[in-house]
């Protein structure tokens, strides 16, 4: 009975995974297809990968995507961490409405955030003489990234033992030194988590970039969107396959390391138990 239930659970999981991975499988397979067709298989080739390396426009959009993601995640991580500490130190009465505003970009539909920023940048631009471009794109990404960092750092601050900070202060630390030596190490997992979420959100964003980057700068998503109007080149399939494999490898390495660490810890606990005996 239990076996049967387990089996049906497994089957269901596999079906959902099939649904999630079918298009990815199609994309990867057709990056090796020798013609441009995206439904008929006509033989194996690595041509698209070769052509990808010579396509300046695609590489340029990849560079823009990586640049805006790295920069915005970095800025958002620093600003978000400082802000989280600031929010944490406030009275609840003041903090609550600020957190509410902080949540607006998360709750609002992307298109509303994008359209609003587009209006803002266009009206500011006519005053201050600037045009939509990499700068406005970066500001938009920083703006939607900071809330993620704050929301992943704040819970760590609530877990923090405030006595540690007081102890550091009593031992002669300035408030900034206490911040750097006591608070930061304690909340580091939250900071790293926030940075990862911010980076992922930036890489994956299309809608907000589309409304804030103007016509001169293109991210990879924008490049792909402009291609879908006609036909997406298999070169893009090739690029996505490479990115996908890179992420997969990274995740496997990180997880293997964690599993190894787990096993090590377990062994140590075992040893200690034996010693105690």
């Amino acid at each position: 009975m239990i076996g049967k239930r387990k089996l049906s659970h497994r089957l269901y999981t596999y079906l959902i995974l099939l649904f999630l991975y079918a298009p990815i499988f199609v994309l990867i397979v057709f990056s090796f297809n020798s013609t441009k067709s995206r439904t008929v298989w006509s033989g194996f080739t690595l041509d698209w990968y070769r052509q990808l390396l010579q396509d300046k426009e695609i590489l340029r959009s990849l560079y823009n995507t990586l640049a805006v993601s790295f920069l915005s995640a970095a800025v958002a991580t620093v600003v978000g961490t400082f802000t989280a500490v600031g929010f944490f130190s406030m009275k609840k009465r003041i903090r609550a409405p600020l957190l509410y505003v902080n949540n607006i970009p998360l709750i609002n539909a992307d298109i509303i955030t994008g359209v609003g920023m587009c209006l803002l940048f266009v009206s500011l631009g006519s005053f201050l003489k600037f045009k939509l471009g990499f700068g406005t794109l970066l500001i938009a990404h920083i703006t939607f990234n900071i809330p993620y960092v704050i929301l992943s750092v704040l819970p760590k601050l609530y877990q923090l033992d405030e006595n540690l900070v007081d102890a550091a202060k009593d031992l002669g630390c300035t408030w900034f030194r206490a911040f750097r030596k006591v608070i930061i190490p304690e909340i580091l997992p939250g900071i790293i988590n926030g940075a990862m979420i911010a980076f992922t959100m930036s890489i994956d964003d299309f809608v907000i970039s589309y409304f804030t980057a103007g016509s001169r700068v293109m991210t990879l998503s924008m490049k792909i969107f402009s291609m879908t109007r006609k036909r997406v080149s298999p070169k893009i399939n090739a690029l996505s396959t490479l990115l996908f494999v890179a992420v997969l490898l990274m995740l496997i390495i990180v997880n293997l390391r964690e599993i190894k660490q787990d096993d090590k810890n377990k062994k140590q606990i075992k040893k200690m138990k034996e010693i105690i005996k």
Binding site: T13, V79, G86, L98, I107, A178
Partner: protein, 272 residues
């Protein structure tokens, strides 16, 4: 010291005022402005012609959200009952597709669903008559469910995994049938996850313009398409676009308010 630390938040408060509040104020201002900047309500009266777009968007988004819930809830519960190592792997498998560009994944569905696509080829191989899915609302729903399913699974999973197992066991010991235990214990306790899942799926679904353009073939215009057209498309009219955005934002807010109201009621019922 605590006093001084507060000021660390000041730069971001200024930033929010400029880049979070001001854009929304601008949308509201534009919504009530005519092309030459005078106050008008004509943007809202012009929206009457687009009523079908509103109803279609909300209908498709609601259907997609329900499908995501029906598919995602059991999956989240299955995950929560696995060993912790298996849980990690499964969560990773759910998140991994998000690292492939979502436009491209949606585009891949075109290859699968097209009339000469991979699905119909497979069906022909099995001597089953072909399905006509592409450029229909069904294709748009498949695209939405595909893109937003992880947003339903993850919040439900993270709540279900924290449910105190002893509560479930107590209900079983007291003679509750599996269905009763689920209806009276597991489901009410998982409700916060369900509500945040519903929001996380519904909001992007109701405002998407990419999925409808790729899989709906442009025939099924949605709210997102309508707004995009007013700002970057052929029908350039940011005032009308702002008015539509404003109405959409308010309707979504009302929708979410009632959802949370309903959720609070359930919470209290559980406590009593």
């Amino acid at each position: 010291m605590t006093n001084r630390r507060r000021f660390l938040a000041v730069p971001y408060i200024v930033w929010m005022a400029v880049f979070v509040i001001a854009p929304i104020v601008l949308i509201a201002v534009y919504a009530f402005a005519s092309r030459d900047g005078a106050f008008t309500l004509s943007n809202f009266s012009a929206m009457g012609t687009y009523l079908s777009v509103f109803s279609r968007s909300f209908l498709l988004a609601i259907i997609s959200t329900v499908v995501c819930l029906i598919l995602g809830y059991p999956l989240a519960v299955i995950f929560a009952h696995e060993t912790s190592r298996m849980q990690k792997i499964m969560i990773m498998l759910i998140m991994l597709p998000m690292w492939m560009n979502f436009l491209l994944r949606t585009y891949a569905w075109m290859s699968i669903l097209e009339s000469n696509g991979l699905l119909n080829r497979a069906l022909a191989f099995l001597h089953i008559p072909p399905l006509n899915i592409i450029n229909t609302p069904a294709a748009v729903i498949i695209g939405m469910v595909y893109n937003f399913l992880p947003f339903m699974v993850l919040p439900i999973y993270s709540v279900v995994v924290k449910i105190d197992r002893s509560l479930v066991e107590a209900a079983q010991d007291l003679g509750g049938s599996p269905a009763a235990v689920f209806r009276r214990v597991t489901f009410p306790l998982s409700l916060p996850g369900v509500l945040s899942g519903i929001t996380m799926v519904f909001v992007p679904a109701v405002s998407t313009f990419v999925i409808s353009q790729l899989l709906g073939g442009g025939k099924e215009m949605l709210l997102g398409d309508l707004i995009e057209m007013q700002f970057l498309g052929t029908a350039y009219n940011p005032q009308l676009g702002s008015a539509i955005s404003l109405v959409m934002m308010i309707v979504v807010m009302i929708f979410m308010y009632f959802m949370n109201k309903f959720g609070e009621g359930e919470d209290k019922a559980v406590l009593m």
